[in-house]
Symmetry: C2
Subunit: 418 residues, 2 copies
């Protein structure tokens, strides 16, 4: 091809300013964030007009109410996006932080210093606020970002990116740091996922389908986010009131988010004594229960859970219930079906809790608490770009530090190796 693709051209534009980005001071980056925040508020009408085009197209295509809601920008939501950028100003600049220092016998001084990742490729669905949130986090961490939203939000993303770039032109931050891939063809996503050397990391945000596609097809390193098939295991001695409160909270506080519980695993001894009461509480909360055969004997009338239920992140007021015969069986179920997000054990037995917290392979493991706390805000990160469910690089909520790498800077006076 003689003509450069949209992805390649914009990734190269992003790369071309990496040298400038890494040299920026905290003040320069913070001033740029405030400038962008102001521009978003000042140009609210244009932004909402662009969003209206997307909304009309979505209504015409009869998308679900949930999707339409995620797509919609209101006056309040635009204000919130700007506020999110202003919040970033209060956070420390992670870039340049010296993580370790070591001086060798030959007086060579080795510093391990935090640096940006480079060019971040963000592939996401529907929510236009991700455009602003992700751009803000990239700016604060000295990264360039290549944004690829879904076609359903193309007008919203286009105007938001334009507002960001034009605001950056008034600042020390090069506007090329934020780029939007406008090619809406699936081939553009494919190209991003295989742009080794041009894009340093791909972050997918959206449904399980998108994330699995990226994980399975990307040869650029991926930060896998979000799918949360979370479990709560209720051990034989769990306090029944605490168990009821935690399960109700983890299921109903916000069923559509990734840290909501999807399946509870209940020790048979606890089930015999307390599951009926928990079932009633769930009924009161209009939660549909799907259970194993043993669950059905205690909660007659609930539908039988199939293998598909154990695998599903419902994101809805539905809860799968399985009676298990031991802690070991619960862990085996989680190993088989969990998505390495958030897993909890409810027990008064410190040894059982210790075993569960040590061997369960998930980003966050809880003893006697709701899974709902897995969240950058709750963890005190101040900003969050997603929740990683993989083990390399970053795990759990990812804030500013997780958007960085490090390098060794070595200061010598002529040292050679003998």
């Amino acid at each position: 091809m003689s003509r450069q693709s949209d992805v390649r051209k914009k990734a190269l534009l992003g790369r071309s300013v990496l040298r400038q980005l890494v040299m920026l001071t905290k003040d320069e980056k913070d001033a740029a964030l405030l400038q962008v925040a102001d521009a978003i508020v000042n140009r609210k009408e244009e932004i909402i007009q662009g969003n209206d085009l997307d909304r009309k197209a979505a209504i015409k295509e009869q998308v679900s109410q949930a999707l339409l809601d995620r797509l919609t920008l209101t006056d309040k939501r635009v204000q919130e996006m700007a506020e999110g950028l202003r919040q970033l100003v209060h956070l420390d600049d992670p870039i340049g932080e010296v993580l370790e220092t070591r001086t060798l016998a030959n007086e060579l001084r080795i510093e391990k210093v935090r640096v940006p990742l480079g060019v971040i490729g963000m592939i996401y669905e529907a929510r236009p606020n991700v455009t602003v949130d992700a751009a803000g986090i990239a700016l604060k961490t000295g990264n360039a970002i290549l944004l690829r939203g879904s076609s359903s939000a193309c007008h919203s993303n286009a105007i938001l990116t334009k507002v960001i770039q034009q605001a950056l032109e008034q600042t020390s931050v090069p506007s090329a740091a934020v780029q939007l891939v406008e090619n809406q063809d699936r081939s553009a996503v494919q190209e991003m996922m295989t742009a080794n050397g041009l894009i340093d990391v791909i972050i997918p945000r959206g449904g399980a389908g998108l994330i699995q596609r990226v994980v399975k097809e990307s040869t650029v390193p991926v930060l896998e986010t979000g799918v949360g098939n979370c479990h709560i295991y209720i051990h034989q001695d769990a306090n029944p009131k605490m168990a009821n409160d935690i399960v109700i909270n983890a299921k109903t506080d916000r069923p559509a988010v990734c840290n909501a519980v999807e399946t509870i695993l209940v020790h048979h001894a606890w089930a015999e004594r307390h599951l009926r009461e928990l079932g009633n509480r769930l009924l009161e909360q209009e939660v549909e229960v799907r259970g194993c055969l043993q669950t059905q004997t205690i909660l007659p009338g609930v539908d039988l859970a199939t293998d598909a239920d154990w695998k599903t992140e419902y994101l809805d007021r539905i809860l799968a219930v399985k009676v298990v015969d031991s802690l070991e069986s619960a862990i085996t179920h989680i190993d088989q079906y969990g998505s390495h997000h958030s897993e909890a054990i409810l027990t008064e037995d410190a040894t059982a809790a210790h075993v569960f917290l040590t061997v369960v392979d998930a980003a966050a493991v809880y003893h006697n608490a709701s899974t709902r706390f897995t969240d950058g805000g709750q963890f005190g990160f101040g900003a969050e770009i997603g929740i990683s469910t993989q083990k390399l690089h970053a795990r759990g909520p990812m804030g500013l530090k997780e958007m960085t790498s490090y390098q060794y800077r070595i200061h010598g006076t002529g040292q050679i190796r003998k």
Copy 2:
């Protein structure tokens, strides 16, 4: 396929003992390492017999002397492998280390704890000592390891793995933690690279061809290692004696390793005054110089360097020389041709050094020192599984800590989110 593949079967065997591995104490792991070290020494004859089969096949195939040397196990090398395992005993156990603790206002206590990565897939060439080194590092860090060496070392790797597994049977460490893929077909490598969910990370060790293949084809996260197209930039004011000593050291101390220098970039003002002398020093050391046009005017008789030279990791007594007109040009050359391994600037100008160390995108950046120091041993890591040239997860020399992930363990007393 009704029959499980070799890769799948062994990856699952490795996975099946992860729960046991994470619970092991330092003493249990160290005892196992010593047991394996003793077994390797005690069964030296068997190991060398196996290695002889590989050597004979290699000689028959008329492989290069360098390859034959990398393949060969001598009495001394077997002792060194065992000694490497014994050294690991002196290192701290990274697993279970609490990296951070935070207590929320609701008294929820969040601990960030170091945990193993899981199943490591190691794809490597020729050197049978990698089998023992990598297995030792995996054991010490509570990981399972799936080893896939090259067919040229298949007998050596088979006997070494057998010795390791049989030694582990006498210990608390499950022998399934160390597995050798015996299928020598390239399809086995392909299967490892796409075993998402079965293998947690792939580490390639070998030549540039192998590493590029893995980086470009693997959908399992990769820790990219080793290729070092390293540069030294000599700024206009560099001390000529220091520059000569460092260039000679970085090129000739061990030309075949990844932290040796391959190209020097010389500021024209320095070149005019000092390049002739450096050329003479390189000639004395039997280093072949290939230079740009300007280099040829100062060092008549040297071959003209082509684009291929700027791209090549010679791993030999060959050095490419390019005269540049500024620090900026040197950085641009490194951006274009470097492999993100080790890059140095020689200068008395603190500002130039600061700019170089800040904007050059490499694992290790040096001011006034030889690139030869990029090494786990020199950095004080005590063990090294390779040198990462990527930015995600780990960068530069990778020791024990780089073979770990972390998880959040959250201790509650019934907390729910409101």
